[in-house]
C-alpha cells in the first residue's frame, strides 16, 4: 500500500478554482464580444486578438525572464481576461502598436510590478486604458461609426453621446447601435453576461447594483433639477463604459474590497465619482478614473469595513 497522506481538515474542497472564475468571466464577456464583432467587424477582431495575445505574451515573458518564476501562470486565465477587458476599452480603429503598448503597461506596470496575480493595486486593464487615454487622447476618443464591417484604421469616426454628439434612441443604446469602445456599446449583451456571473456565483450583486443605482439616482436628481443641461438617467446608464465598468471592471476580485459593507461603499463612491467626472470633469467619460481612484482606496476600505462578526448583532441589540 502507498503511504497514507495526512493533512489538517478540511479534507474536501468545493472544486472551485482560479481558472474557473477567470474563464467564467471570459464566457460572460462572450455576448458583448460577439456584439462588438457585429458592429465593428474586422477592426474589433484585430484589436481583440492583438490585445489578448500581447497580454498573454507579456505575462509569460515577464514572469519567466524578468521575475525568474518557473511556474507557468499564463494558463490561469487572468492575462487572457485582462487582454479582453483592455480590448473592450479601446476603439476599434486603434493601431496595433498602441494596443501593444497598452498591453505592456497593463501587464507590466499594472500587474507584474506589484508581484503578479493577486498583488496589484489597480485593475490592470484599466491602468492600461487610462495610460493610453492620457497618452493618446485623440486616437482613444475618436470612435468609428458602427456598421463598417471591413474597415480598420481607415474607419469613419464620429463623436459619442457623452462627447457631445447626438443622443441616439434608448433602444439603440441598449443594443449598441452607437459609436464607442468595443465592449461599451451593447449594454444588453453586457447585462446578459453579468447575469451569468451572478448565476455562477463568480461575483455578488453588491458592486454592480450599488454603482448602477448610485449613477441612476445621482444623474436623475441632476436631470430633475435641470433637464436642459443634464442627461436623463436612462441615457446616463446606457452610454459610455458604465455597464462594462460596473459589472466587469469594478468587480475585479483583486482590486475591490472584501466585505459586503465595503463593497457597497466602494460601489456608491464609484457611482458618485463617475457622475461628477462626467458632468464637471475634463473628460467626457469618468468610469475608468472613478474605478482607478476607488481601487486606491480599497486597502483603506478593507481596513475599516470589517464584516459583521458573529455575536455582534446581539451585543448591539442588548445595548
Amino acid at each position: 500500500m502507498n503511504k497514507l497522506i495526512v493533512s489538517l481538515s478540511p479534507h474536501v474542497h468545493g472544486k472551485d478554482s482560479v481558472r474557473k472564475n477567470m474563464y467564467g468571466v471570459c464566457i460572460a464577456l462572450l455576448p458583448a464580444m460577439l456584439a462588438s464583432f457585429w458592429f465593428f467587424g474586422l477592426g474589433a477582431a484585430v484589436v481583440m486578438l492583438t490585445s489578448v495575445v500581447a497580454c498573454v505574451f507579456f505575462e509569460w515573458f515577464i514572469s519567466r525572464f524578468i521575475m525568474g518564476r518557473q511556474r507557468l501562470t499564463i494558463l490561469d486565465g487572468s492575462a487572457v481576461l485582462t487582454g479582453i477587458l483592455l480590448a473592450f476599452n479601446l476603439p476599434s480603429n486603434l493601431p496595433i502598436w498602441i494596443i501593444v503598448l497598452g498591453a505592456l503597461f497593463a501587464i507590466g506596470v499594472g500587474k507584474m510590478t506589484f508581484g503578479g496575480l493577486g498583488q496589484n493595486i489597480f485593475n490592470p486593464a484599466l491602468a492600461g486604458r487610462v495610460f493610453l487615454l492620457i497618452s493618446f487622447p485623440v486616437q482613444m476618443t475618436s470612435w468609428p461609426v458602427p456598421g463598417q464591417l471591413t474597415a480598420y484604421t481607415d474607419a469613419v469616426t464620429a463623436a459619442t453621446p457623452l462627447g457631445g454628439g447626438e443622443i441616439p434612441a434608448a433602444t439603440d443604446l441598449l443594443f449598441g447601435q452607437m459609436g464607442g469602445s468595443l465592449g461599451e456599446v451593447s449594454a444588453l449583451a453586457l447585462l446578459i453576461g453579468c447575469a451569468f456571473m451572478l448565476w455562477r456565483k463568480i461575483i455578488t450583486w453588491h458592486i454592480p447594483v450599488s454603482i448602477l443605482g448610485t449613477v441612476a439616482v445621482a444623474s436623475g436628481l441632476l436631470w430633475l433639477a435641470n433637464p436642459e443641461q443634464y442627461m436623463d438617467p436612462l441615457t446616463s446608464l446606457l452610454t459610455g463604459g458604465l455597464v462594462l465598468g460596473a459589472c466587469y471592471m469594478a468587480t475585479d476580485y483583486v482590486t475591490s474590497p472584501m466585505s459586503h459593507k465595503g463593497q457597497l461603499i466602494y460601489g456608491v463612491s464609484i457611482g458618485l465619482l463617475t457622475v461628477i467626472i462626467r458632468n464637471w470633469g475634463a473628460y467626457p467619460e469618468g468610469m475608468s478614473f472613478a474605478i482607478i481612484i476607488m481601487n486606491a482606496f480599497t486597502p483603506l476600505i478593507n481596513n475599516y469595513c470589517k464584516p459583521t462578526r458573529f455575536g455582534e448583532v446581539r451585543k448591539e441589540a442588548a445595548k
Binding site: V6, S9, G118
Partner: protein, 447 residues
C-alpha cells in the same frame, strides 16, 4: 426554513451509509483505552498490568472536574499500561486489555426494555448529573467536552432550554441519523433527563432537512411530550457547530469569546450523547460503546457500526469489506473537521463519530495558487471573520494583528478553505495563529 445567519457552505453530502441499519461490530482481540478521550485533564489509570477486568470496570478515574473516567468495554486481562499511538497522532498514556470472553459487570442492565422518565419519579437533577459524570459521558459529536461540566452552568448563568444537535452537517456521516431512526424513544428520554438535570422546561431537536424520515419519526414520537419541539433546519454547513445551531434554532448569537454558549441560555447536546445519557441513567451503563459510521467511496460496504470503544480502526475497516487498494487517506471523523490518522492500528475513542476512507485522487490537495482576494472565504465564514487576512498575518507571524482581527473566534470549521478557489491552506495557518494567540492571551491573563 430556519438556519444560521452568517456564511456557511454546502459540501456534497455523500451520505453513502444512510440506508444501512446499525449492526453490532465484533469484539476486538485487543482493546486500547486512551486516557485522553476527552477535553480537559487526562484520566489517571487505576489498573495495573495483569489485572482482570470486566465490561464496565473502571480503568481510569477522572483527573479533575473538567475530565471524565474511562471504563473497559471488554473483559479480559490488562496487558500494558503505557503510551500508545491514539487518534490525535500522539503517543499518550493508554491501558491495553487482551480480550477474553465477554463478561459484564452485574450492575449494568442489559435488557432492551424502554424506561421512561415517568417510571423513575425518584430521579432528581443532582442524581442525574452525578450518574452522567460517573459514567464518563462526553460530547459525542466529536468535541468530547465532558457532559457534566456543560450541565453545571457557572454561577450567575441560567439555562433556559436544551437543544439536541441532530444536524449531522458533516458530509458522509450517518451515525446520528441511524440512531434517530432506530432509537427515537431513548433519545427523547435522554433529552428529558438533561432538561430535568438543568431544570428547564423547553427542549428542541434540530434536524437538517436532508433527513426527512428522521424529522417525521422524531416529530411523531415527540408528540407525546408537549415541551419538546422538533425543528427542521435548512441544509448548510457548519450548522452542527454549537454556536451556529443555537443561532439557527432560537435565533440568539453567542457573543465573542470569552462568552460561552450558556450566555444565550441554551445547552446543546448531541443525539449520541442523549442516547448515552439514557443508557447511563436508566440502564446504569457507563460509556463503553458508540455508533460509528465507516464509509468511503471505494469502501465495499459503507456501514454504521455499534462498536466497543478501544476497538482498533483496522478491525472496523475489515468488517466493512477491508481497506481498498486505492486508499490515500484515512480520517477519524468527517471530511470537514475530522483528523487524518497516522496509522490504522489506532483505537476508537468516545469522540469517534466516523471513519472515512478517501481515495488517493480525493486525498491529495490541489496545488496552491496566489490569493486573488475574491472574498469567497469572507462570505463563507460563519463567524464573520476574514480568513484570508487571518491566514496571511499568521503566515507572517504577526500575532498582534491576528488577535486584533479576532482570530480566537474561529471555530475551525474549514468553510474558508473549502471554498477557496486558489486552494490555499487557509485553515492550516489560521490554526497556527489561533493556537499561538490563545497561548499569548493565556500567558497575559496569568500575569
Amino acid at each position: 426554513m430556519k438556519t444560521f445567519k452568517i456564511g456557511g457552505v454546502h459540501p456534497e453530502e455523500n451520505k453513502l451509509s444512510a440506508g444501512s441499519p446499525i449492526r453490532e461490530a465484533q469484539l476486538p482481540k485487543q482493546a486500547v483505552f486512551s486516557m485522553f478521550q476527552h477535553i480537559g485533564a487526562p484520566a489517571n489509570p487505576v489498573v495495573k498490568k495483569g489485572d482482570e477486568v470486566k465490561v464496565g470496570t473502571l480503568l481510569g478515574e477522572a483527573g479533575g472536574f473538567v475530565s471524565a473516567p474511562v471504563y473497559s468495554s471488554v473483559s479480559g486481562k490488562v496487558s500494558k499500561v503505557d503510551v500508545a499511538l491514539d487518534a490525535s497522532g500522539l503517543r499518550r498514556m493508554a491501558v491495553t486489555v487482551d480480550v477474553e470472553g465477554d463478561e459484564w459487570e452485574e450492575s449494568i442492565d442489559r435488557s432492551e426494555t424502554l424506561v421512561k422518565l415517568a417510571d423513575r419519579p425518584e430521579l432528581d437533577g443532582k442524581t442525574i448529573v452525578d450518574k452522567i459524570k460517573s459514567a464518563g459521558i462526553v460530547g459525542m459529536g466529536g468535541a468530547t467536552f465532558p457532559t457534566h461540566v456543560k450541565l453545571c452552568p457557572p454561577p450567575g448563568k441560567v439555562a433556559e432550554c436544551v437543544i439536541v444537535n441532530a444536524v449531522e452537517c458533516e458530509p458522509y456521516l450517518t451515525a446520528d441519523h441511524r440512531l434517530m431512526l432506530e432509537h427515537p424513544e431513548e433519545i427523547l428520554v435522554g433529552l428529558q433527563l438533561v432538561m430535568k438535570a438543568v431544570g428547564v422546561t423547553k427542549g428542541y431537536i434540530g434536524i437538517e432537512n436532508n433527513k426527512p424520515d428522521a424529522i417525521k419519526l422524531m416529530t411523531e414520537k415527540a408528540a407525546q411530550y408537549p415541551k419538546i419541539e422538533v425543528v427542521p433546519l435548512k441544509v448548510k454547513y457548519p450548522q452542527g457547530g454549537e454556536k451556529q445551531l443555537i443561532d439557527a434554532v432560537i435565533g440568539r448569537q453567542v457573543p465573542a469569546p470569552p462568552a460561552l454558549p450558556i450566555d444565550t441560555g441554551a445547552i446543546v447536546q448531541n443525539v449520541g450523547t442523549c442516547f448515552a445519557i439514557y443508557e447511563a441513567v436508566m440502564k446504569n451503563k457507563p460509556l463503553i460503546d458508540r455508533i460509528i459510521t465507516v464509509t468511503g467511496k471505494s469502501l465495499m460496504q459503507p456501514s454504521n457500526l455499534k462498536a466497543r470503544l478501544g476497538t482498533p480502526f483496522s478491525q472496523l475497516i475489515d468488517e466493512c469489506g477491508g481497506l481498498p487498494e486505492d486508499t490515500g487517506k484515512v480520517i477519524g471523523g468527517g471530511p470537514m473537521m475530522g483528523k487524518a490518522l497516522l496509522g490504522l492500528e489506532v483505537p476508537m475513542t468516545k469522540g469517534s463519530s466516523g471513519l472515512l476512507i478517501m481515495r488517493q485522487d480525493e486525498a491529495k490537495r490541489a496545488e496552491t495558487e496566489p490569493c486573488i482576494r475574491c472574498a469567497k472565504c469572507v462570505s463563507a465564514c460563519p463567524m464573520g471573520l476574514e480568513p484570508y487576512l487571518l491566514a496571511k498575518v499568521s503566515e507572517l507571524r504577526d500575532w498582534d494583528a491576528a488577535e486584533h482581527e479576532d482570530i480566537p473566534s474561529c471555530i475551525e470549521c474549514g468553510s474558508c478553505q473549502f471554498t477557496c478557489p486558489s486552494h490555499r491552506p487557509l485553515l492550516d495557518y489560521i490554526r497556527l495563529g489561533k493556537s499561538t494567540v490563545m497561548g499569548i492571551i493565556r500567558a497575559r491573563s496569568a500575569k
